[in-house]
Subunit: 349 residues, 2 copies
Amino acid sequence: MARNPQEDPKPARARRRAGRATMSDVARLAGVSAITVSRLLRDPASVSGTLAVRIRDAIERLGYVPNLMAGGLAAAKSRIVGVVVPSIRNAFFAASVDALSARFGERGYAVLDSSSDYDLRREDTLIEAMLAWNPAALVLTGFAHGPRAAAIVARAGVPIVEMWDVAGRPFDMAVGFDHNAAGRSVARHLLARGRRRVAVIGAMLGKDTRASARCAGVREELERAGRPAVATIDLPRASNVGDGASAFAEALAAPGGIDAAAFSNDVLALGAIFECQKRGVRIPDDVAIVGFGDLDFAAHCRPSLTTLRPPREQIGNETARLLLSRIDGQTPERPVVDLGCDLVVRESA
Amino acid sequence: MARNPQEDPKPARARRRAGRATMSDVARLAGVSAITVSRLLRDPASVSGTLAVRIRDAIERLGYVPNLMAGGLAAAKSRIVGVVVPSIRNAFFAASVDALSARFGERGYAVLDSSSDYDLRREDTLIEAMLAWNPAALVLTGFAHGPRAAAIVARAGVPIVEMWDVAGRPFDMAVGFDHNAAGRSVARHLLARGRRRVAVIGAMLGKDTRASARCAGVREELERAGRPAVATIDLPRASNVGDGASAFAEALAAPGGIDAAAFSNDVLALGAIFECQKRGVRIPDDVAIVGFGDLDFAAHCRPSLTTLRPPREQIGNETARLLLSRIDGQTPERPVVDLGCDLVVRESA
DNA sequence: CGCTCGAATGTTAGCGTTGTCATTTTTAAA
DNA sequence: TTTAAAAATGACAACGCTAACATTCGAGCG
């Protein structure tokens, strides 16, 4: 059987393609070389105006979307920033990540975030998974990490910010505030208001080291004043209103009673407020209440809630700023940025 | 000047490398070819036990982490799933995304999520940015999209789920519930309880089409019963407790008063509850209140809140299930999964 | 008017993996 | 045993882009 001499002169291994237009397609249509298109996209100033117009036109006509995988492979780095938080459902971290994403998004970086559920071994796994993407930077939460984290991030060699805490030794940089100091400021406020029998109520103190540090701060300052906490309750689950209410009820039943309660979270404090409404306990006359977070409802509930206001968005913004400047090759300083945490005094304490 | 004949026989173009161990390094150490390592990682059953042990050992010793950029480029697809929600700070979407991430994470996929801030043009941009990563699947929110979205996703050719709504024509698949029906169930409940003068209060109804559909459902059912809403208030900002309180105060002042208020969000309803506590308005005796979301506090506030319970986590789980089965090459059905939305009747209405 | 120098553009060769096809080894059937 | 079929493994090129190096061109200068 005679073969048509014109058909496939070379077997030409069949290949898959994404199907989309490539940079070469754009270059061909614009009558330039691929590298010029690449340059225009990454550093517009390096391409002459005439070519720039032609290339942009070609991009538009082909609906060209760059393949960042290919770019990341070629440059041995990507425009991905990996973020690991305990839980994205936590309003505090969500606010920081949101700000972080916005800042990085403006600069063309995508943020990959994942939740460790307060499990340090899981965090190790997540960090390792992030590294598979050759991220340009890494954002972790706090200083408590899994056993392999140090080795993993050392190998990664990317700028890292540990956020939401400053009291510790960072791998690289840190942005946050001192939770122990914040806790102490709560205790001082209660003592100044004449409170002498304070209960401390927190959630997941064994895993949430920052909440734990705040509670410890409260207790330390109370002890220093010779008025140690009359009760300390550690709830086993993440903060929720119902547990806050029942823990508060438990604290009220402490022998000798209490005249104040400091919570590791506004959500728990809200539960206490509802419990008081139910029982007819007067706030702050009978019991003073202090929360943490300055969540939306804190200013509007009855009575309004005295609470600590963490710099949620600011943490995200500052983290992005530090990482971007490091990515841009600036000052390899190792800053620890303490943004502070103010006590907002309202009706409840 | 005589050149040393031994020095660089080939100029050998200098190249950048990520510095990490590569698959070839692992292969060399294990005494196999690179493709066998690749196979072990992607389909362990296709490699014999002897080699598998040797290769795993080499991976361990070198601390090898696969370069997913290279893999993504070679395979013309990635293990990334793109998600676009209006706001990750919204507790509803955060819950769905969290569940979604968990399900995909188990299968080795990373989730890239981004917030459009209820801006459809921005959503277009974000979808396009996602495509640059050659995602394996796309998750969008609702059916309202920007002008270029349809063209963009058509070119993408990946499975897509539009979540949190089912009342519309999906690009591909949809998982959620019928917001209009949910709103109607609220109105029926209030009517059944003898309420005749209902106010409808929502936030960002112009942009949040789902909240808008719920409010419309309430109004339609009230009209059908011959008891049209006595007031409709559309707040310009995202739901927050303060605005809920002031909008409720405004509704109370409607000529002839009101005996019920339906809110597009529990947060707004909580504001109303606080406002009632402040003014001494009795719930539900004077005014009945219904929210949406069944947020944490709904079961615990005083009075407890009657509200709609959306299947937050379920939406994420089901979305992941559909997409993964499609990725696995199964049934190219175009399902629309209606998970329903129950009314949880408590004290407030 | 030739020369240097810098800006603009092009050429080449990978980046680290996987799809395709080829080859070798093992297993099962005859 | 022989042989075909199946399983395991390998060789090679290609995915789409960018770093490094090479070349061209025109402005500015003596």
